[in-house]
Symmetry: C2
Subunit: 386 residues, 2 copies
Amino acid sequence: MQNFEFYNPTKIFFGEDQFDHLNQEIDTKEKVLLLYGGGSIKKYGVYGKVMSALKDHEVHEFGGIPPNPEYEVLLQALEVIKKVKITYLLAVGGGSVIDGTKFLASAALSSEEEPWKILKDGIRTTNAMPFGTVLTLPATGSEMNSGAVVTRKETGEKLGMGGPGLFPQFSILDPNVVSTLPKRQIANGITDAFVHVMEQYMTYPAGGILQDRLAESIMQTLIEVGPRVLKNPDDYEAASNFMWSCTMALNGIIQKGVPTDWAIHAMGHELTAQFGIDHARTLAIIAASHYEYNFETKREKLAQFGRRVWGINGDDDSVVAKQAIVQMNEFFTSLGIDINLSKYTDDYKGSALKTANALRERGWNGIGEHRNLTPDDVEKIVEMSY
Amino acid sequence: MQNFEFYNPTKIFFGEDQFDHLNQEIDTKEKVLLLYGGGSIKKYGVYGKVMSALKDHEVHEFGGIPPNPEYEVLLQALEVIKKVKITYLLAVGGGSVIDGTKFLASAALSSEEEPWKILKDGIRTTNAMPFGTVLTLPATGSEMNSGAVVTRKETGEKLGMGGPGLFPQFSILDPNVVSTLPKRQIANGITDAFVHVMEQYMTYPAGGILQDRLAESIMQTLIEVGPRVLKNPDDYEAASNFMWSCTMALNGIIQKGVPTDWAIHAMGHELTAQFGIDHARTLAIIAASHYEYNFETKREKLAQFGRRVWGINGDDDSVVAKQAIVQMNEFFTSLGIDINLSKYTDDYKGSALKTANALRERGWNGIGEHRNLTPDDVEKIVEMSY
């Protein structure tokens, strides 16, 4: 096991009827900015519950944060924060709204004149405006970690940021929100969480015996409850396990003490930037190609994945490992997720080179758990995903 | 899944060469009281490393906290804290030293004239003196939770306390300490952690699909690495997984959203009070009898435990469940842990009634996950453990 530091102070309120905690967790002295996305929170009652819990607070609103939160839109919210002298942010939404709120929490107290520098220069955020979240879409895990990804439309960039100041103070997770989601978003959430686990698990063996098993637990749970939720989003037992699995997939627990990969995300982000494909779907497009391309270094873990998660028997690691990749792809397609880029766009042909060049421009010359995948490798992997 | 609240702000520094963090985590303004047990920390170099990291701090010392930390001894430490005007506590030891430190952190800021009231009246601690820990004995998980158990020799009581003020600010976990431990303590640690998981897992099914799998992961890891550590305590990979499993067994993660039992602990504590048997061993003594006595309500989970953790095949839940109990006992005995009370004392005969009466006196008329095990039931279970 590798040395690690673990710290996660986010308070979780999980289950039904948790909205009243808002009133206890946010002091009535605070000037709150409620941030949300396309407005589905008004359609499905979450907005009303939040506002009713905050009836003693001064609450301002900023809606319209788009999926893959856009820098340009967030700058408008930043203006509101400064103008109204907001002191507390409340994200009500999915990963995009929460990530956007994290950016704002950082930018609001930053001394940078151009807040994009926080992302461009990879500045760690230690001091941020306090914020909480109400999660309406299980997927990214952003509700219980200190990372965020922001997109800049004009330059086509999609960059990450983070730091110990960016943990939500609290997050409210009510599994009932799952029943209000389009199936497309549920399938995305399952896939997103599954690949999050894979990125922290499917590496070279490093003696993280417990971490491996915890990661396998989350994947096994997603495999069990994913189809149940898709079939019946009112199935509270399945929805609650889906929701908590998404959070546990990226709250730090399974990542500590082991190497992590994240190459699938690096490539996937470029496909979203190029074609606007849903984040989770870009991960499913890249995953199998990435594992096939790096088969030699990942064989042992792929075989373990095959045996423990998919119950594949057999002594030959290579055979089991290959079968495991097939099973993973079948799982994605069973959720309605296409795993080939050409299913999403006719314009796919130049995409591999474009992706490789985007990483080149960024100076990312070695990605993956060994930091040795070059842009040339990336080009081949994306091409295998056509 | 049941509703839950999760919050755990303890910062973990895990691995080799982590002692320098002491200097960053404790402000040099603080007046530190270093608390420890029988002095093994001086024998094995931990003391030297701690003092060297704290060379810029004012450090006072209080040694001699015994296993099952005794109230009478802790009162002496409390006197030191008040006299010297200590502002920060540092526990260097195992669960007993850490639990004792938690009591002191609470008592130091409590307005109770007789601090025993904190335990006797079950007063939750929200405000406590800040403290950190350096773990020298993986077992109880106290290094990353907010609970503690304190013993009062004169009355034979062993009572728990807790509250959000009792999370360590940080804990340093260096797996190298394992190689300095007597095998007896390693076996105790494995058993303690294993039963901690069981108490949060072996209940009626409640839809905690993810939690069940996470619990099974920890048990599977202990089963895998336990014998390795016992055989070769220098095996760093095994020691690190053993150590992190003990912490993960009781840091709240697997307990949230599911019913918990803790009847084994309630009975085991009495055996420690009566005979001075090591805490972990009392758990191994009681466990099987408890599961056999409550076989009907626990059958489904016992069978799941048998299939998933022990790999027992078979369609008949009862058969698999019974075999699972046998396997659990064989695991304990393979670690050198006797599972019958009569192996520890010749004086066992009145123990069942004594245990039942102790619970009666305390007004504990219903323990276990259904809170329906009466002192009469307890008497029968302890008798089955002779």
